[in-house]
Structure formats: C-alpha cells, structure tokens
C-alpha cells in the first residue's frame, strides 16, 4: 500500500508541475479535445454513411470506439511514464537517478509521468460510450458493469504492456523504435472498430500479440447483446485477463532488460 501512496503523491506533484503553466496547460487540453473529437467524427461519418458495419449497428460502433478511447487515454493519463516519457528518461539520464533509489524501476517510471491533458480525450471516449449504450439500448446489469470495469482495467494493462516493448528497445539502443508504434497506436486505431470486420491476419495479430480483441471486444460484444463469435458467457470474464498476462510478461522482460542498461554520458 505504501507504493500506492507514493504513486498518488507523485501524481499530485506532477499535476502541480503541469499547473505551473496554466495557459499552456489549458490550450493543450483543448487541442487534445479537438484531436480526439476529430477521431470520433470519423466514426460519426462512417455511421452516417453506412449505418451498419458487418452486423454491428451505428450505436454499437460508438460503444466500441468509446471502450478503446477510454482505456487508451486512461493509460496515457496515469501511465505517461511508460507510454510517452520513457525514451526521454533514458536519454536525459533520469533513469540513472531512478536506479539509485530503493524502489522498483517500473514503479518509479510510472510515478515519473502523467498527462492530465488527456482528460478531454477520456471525456470524449466516455461520451461516446454513453451514446453507444443509449443507441444500442443496453440494459445494464451488475454483471455487465463488472465486465465493463474489468475490460477497461485489463485494456489499460495491455496497453502498458505493449508500450513496455518499446521501453525494452529503448534500454538497449537508447532510441525509440517506431516499429512498435504499429502495435500501440496502430492497435488503438484498428481496434476502435470490432475485430470481426477485419481479415484473418489482422484478427490473429489483435488476438495474440496485441490482444485488444480479447480484452475489449469480447466483453463489449457481450454487453451489446451479441457475443463475439457466439462464445459462451464465461469467456467474457476470462479472455480480458490476457491483458494482465501481456503486462506480466513484459514487466519480466523489462526487468531483465534493465540489466543490460548502459546509461548515457557522465
């Protein structure tokens, strides 16, 4: 629990740091709103033009988009240290200062970055989620609420895990690798839409290496009342755990990678 307290205090400190420059903060937050609003506009246009995609209605599409948006930007909000700042931590030598403190490296990396500007992105996602739920006439039950909460939490862990791949490359070559972005940002863009509209290779990619389909789409499809591939109910609570699995694997790899860290300059 002490670690959690440390994380909360670090977040408070980072938030205050961000608010040291209020006008810049406000403008950037608004910019984020425009950006994520634009993404949602894309979905609106698709729904407006085609009405359905596969067997998914427009409302369903808003729901899928909202799920992805909320999990992705929650991760960026609270896990900015992993999703964005890590390469600069390596380059600037901040990682060195983490290594000389008696705390876990990943803990300190997570405590070292937050991005409160993402709040507007999360808001757009939440709005889309509510809109989708209304349009699809979802009847909320405790089981569905549980599925939604688990799905978003596991989605966040999955996204952290994927960004950790990039972090591992960073430790080794002191450079960020754009290729990994295909999984992270690419995954976000692709899996805003339900997985079964894609051809098989992509379905396999997003069910195994970057299992967004398992963490987000399986529960979302259940909540919307048409289970993905007709899978039984228990899968809704089990498959999202793949997010935690990816995170656990990448955490282990990350800690192994730290042993090969070579630091920079003096």
């Amino acid at each position: 629990m002490n670690t959690f307290k440390l994380y909360i205090r670090s977040m408070g400190m980072l938030l205050r740091s961000h608010l040291q420059y209020p006008s810049s903060f406000l403008l950037q937050t608004l910019a984020q709103l425009v950006m994520e609003g634009g993404e949602m506009l894309m979905v609106i246009l698709v729904v407006d033009r085609f009405e359905t995609l596969g067997h998914w209605s427009g409302g369903n599409l808003f729901f899928f988009f909202g799920m992805m948006s909320v999990s992705f930007y929650l991760t960026e909000f609270f896990g900015r240290g992993v999703t964005g700042d890590f390469p600069s931590m390596v380059r600037s030598g901040r990682l060195d200062t983490f290594l000389v403190r008696p705390r876990g490296i990943l803990t300190q990396v997570l405590c070292g970055g937050m991005d409160p500007r993402r709040i507007t992105c999360i808001a757009v996602g939440a709005a889309s989620l509510i809109l989708g739920s209304r349009l699809s006439a979802v009847v909320w039950t405790p089981l569905k609420v549980l599925a939604l909460a688990e799905s978003i939490l596991m989605g966040c862990l999955l996204i952290l895990g994927l960004f950790l791949i990039e972090a591992c490359f960073c430790i080794h070559s002191v450079k960020s690798v754009e290729l990994v972005n295909a999984l992270t940002y690419g995954g976000r863009s692709a899996c805003q839409y339900p997985i079964d509209i894609y051809p098989h290779p992509l379905r396999i990619l997003f069910s195994t290496v970057a299992p967004f389909a398992l963490t987000l789409h399986v529960p979302a499809a259940y909540i919307l009342g048409s289970p993905l591939y007709g899978w039984p109910l228990w899968t809704v609570y089990v498959t999202p755990l793949s997010g935690a699995l990816i995170f656990a694997i990448m955490t282990a790899v990350f800690h192994r990678g730290i042993r090969y860290y070579r630091s920079t300059g003096s």
Partner: protein, 352 residues
C-alpha cells in the same frame, strides 16, 4: 617580499582524524579487477550490409579498496572511466567481470538494498523535481526512502542549516542558481543518511564562493557523520582541499593511488616561478635545469621574469637563494603544474 602559494602546491592536506580510524583495516569498498566494455555501433559504410561494431574498453582491470569514513578523490581525463566506476559502484551498470563489494553488498545484484545506503549526486543531472518547491521534492524523497518522520525532520533541519537552504525551501528548483541547485541536490541525496556518498563533478561550473562553501560542507558531513565520500572531479583544488587520498584513472586503468603530495612529487616534473624585481631585472646566469618560460627568451611585457625548472634537478630552495642573490625581489609566485600537465606527464611515463 610576498610569496603567494596557490593551492595545489605544497599543501599540507588536512588529514582529518577520521571517526572510524579503527575501521580502516576492514575496507568498506572492495573492487577487484573490474572490467567494463561498451559496444559502439559505427555508422554503416557503403557496400557493407551490417554495421561495424567497436568495442570500447571503459574499465580494464581496476582494483582498489576504500575504508569507512575516507574521503577519496577520483581524477582522470574525460573518458577515463571515472563515471563508469561510479555507475557500477552505485548499481546502475553491471560490469563484465571483476568483483565489487560495498559494505558487503554486490551493488548490481542487491540493487534496492544497496542504494538504501548510498547517496549519489550527478553534477550534470538533477534528482529533484523541476517545477515544484524543493521542500516538496524532499518530502517525496522521504516517502521513496521510507524515512521515519522524526528522523527526516531532524536531518532536514541539520542539512538546511549546514547548506544555508532555509530561505530557498519554498522556491521551485528551476528558479535556483547553479550553486543553489547543487546545494539543494546535496541535501536531497543526504536526507536518508547514506554511509557512502558519490559525487560526480560536484563543483563543475560553480563560482569561487560556492566552491569554497561546498567543500566546507563536504568536510563537515564527512567529519560529523562519518560519511565515506568518493568524489570525481577535474578540479585539482577540490582534491587538494578535501581528499586525503587520490586515485588517478586513465584509459580504464588505475595509474596512481596515494596521497596528493606524493602524486605531485612523482609527476611534478616542471614548475614555474615568476619573479618581479625592484627596478629592472638583473641579468641572470641560468643554471642547468632552469629555462625561461617565454619562447623568445625575453622578459614578459610587464617586467616579470618567468622561469621553468625541474624540482628534481634544481631544488626549489636553491633556486630561491639564487634569485634572491641577483637583486631585490618585489614579488614572487611559485606555480605548481596544473592537473592536465600532471596527467599528461603520467601518460608519457606510463607509455599510454
């Protein structure tokens, strides 16, 4: 007549009576045959598919031991491996081979347990938070190191007094001057009462007053709390003022380990003396081993006579007597060689 002795010459290094003199036999840091190489990828040349890799040896079999409560200076040119040693000793890097024990611990294996007992100050990078008052940084460090509240408050009070930080505690780090920032960093790295403090070029870029007070503080911390201090620097005066022992590193190897006067004696091959006489300078018959500094053999513009001499060939006392005989001396300065010449002389001698 006034003779000024710049620091670095014949300094009686104040070997402070260490609190832990008894512990000196059991060394606190044990380093044996430490090796570390880095692979550097070169730019790919035309026609080659793979990039060539170069192995750069940062440390090539370094061994030393440091007793508890010692204040050791670690010098050497850029790229000599000073920072690499510090990084290995503080658990940041893992060496290829060799053994390291710091207080019985292997730094890179028991990292978390190890760093609880050490403090590190990197001259070039900050450990505190940039945009918040430094007091907030300290309070977060208290949580990171799990320092009990009473302990933290007492230590903070002690350190802020010694470092004169009280008026700055509510100022964000980014608004502090370089000297103030270094003091703030020192306080942050000592809050958890480390047994061992690493300082990587702590006086870099500081003005004279800040340097002096920083040295003063380090002496105090070493004496008052028995903290072992290992200091890397390019500033010979840091060493002269602080360290009872100096280690010289070059090309990844240890070139010298001992007292500063011994180092000076061993490699201090050429020294300079400047003399200013009343009236015009007398014609001097220069004895062997003494030459004029100026290449054209003339006096410098302001009537100052600058001579180079080798102490081994011409003892200082003898030269002084000779100069005094020649006329009435108004002012005289003796200058030892600076660190760069010393290191260069060492390299020549060790054929590196």
């Amino acid at each position: 007549m006034r003779i000024s002795w710049p620091a670095g010459g014949h300094i009686t290094v104040s070997t402070r009576a260490s609190l832990n003199e008894g512990d000196q036999s059991v060394s606190y840091i044990e380093v044996r045959d430490l090796k570390k190489t880095f692979t550097v990828r070169k730019k790919r040349e035309k026609g080659q598919f793979f990039r060539q890799k170069d192995l750069v040896t940062a440390l090539d079999g370094v061994s030393f031991s440091v007793g508890k409560g010692e204040l050791v200076g670690y010098i050497g040119p850029n790229g000599a491996g000073k920072s690499t040693t510090v990084k290995i000793l503080s658990g940041i890097l893992t060496p290829e081979s060799g053994s390291v024990r710091v207080g019985g611990r292997i730094p890179w294996e028991a990292r978390r347990e190890h760093v609880r007992h050490i403090g590190v100050v990197f001259g070039q990078r900050s450990q505190l938070w940039w945009d918040v008052p430094i007091l907030d940084s300290y309070s977060l460090l208290k949580d990171i190191y799990r320092i009990p509240t009473g302990d933290y408050e007492a230590r903070l009070k002690e350190l802020t007094q010694a470092l004169q930080l009280e008026p700055l505690l509510r100022t964000p780090l980014r608004l502090l001057s370089l000297g103030q920032r270094m003091r703030a960093e020192l306080c942050g790295s000592l809050l958890h009462r480390p047994e061992l403090l690493f300082l990587d070029e702590p006086t870099i870029g500081l003005d004279a007053v800040s340097k002096l007070s920083l040295r003063e503080f380090l002496r105090w911390e070493n004496k008052e709390n028995g903290t072992t201090i290992l200091l890397t620097t390019h500033d010979m005066e840091d060493i002269a003022a602080l360290c009872s022992r100096v280690m010289v590193l070059g090309h990844g190897r240890k070139l010298f380990d001992g007292k500063l006067p011994d180092l000076l004696e061993q490699y201090d091959t050429v020294r300079t003396v400047s003399v200013r006489y009343e009236g015009s300078a007398p014609a001097l018959q220069l004895p062997p081993g003494v030459t004029l500094s100026a290449e054209d053999g003339s006096l410098s513009a302001d009537g100052e006579l600058r001579l180079n001499y080798a102490p081994a060939q011409m003892p200082t006392a003898q030269l002084l007597a000779l100069l005094q005989e020649a006329g009435t001396i108004r002012e005289m300065t003796l200058q030892p060689e600076n660190i760069d010449h010393l290191i260069a002389a060492m390299y020549r001698e060790m054929d590196l």
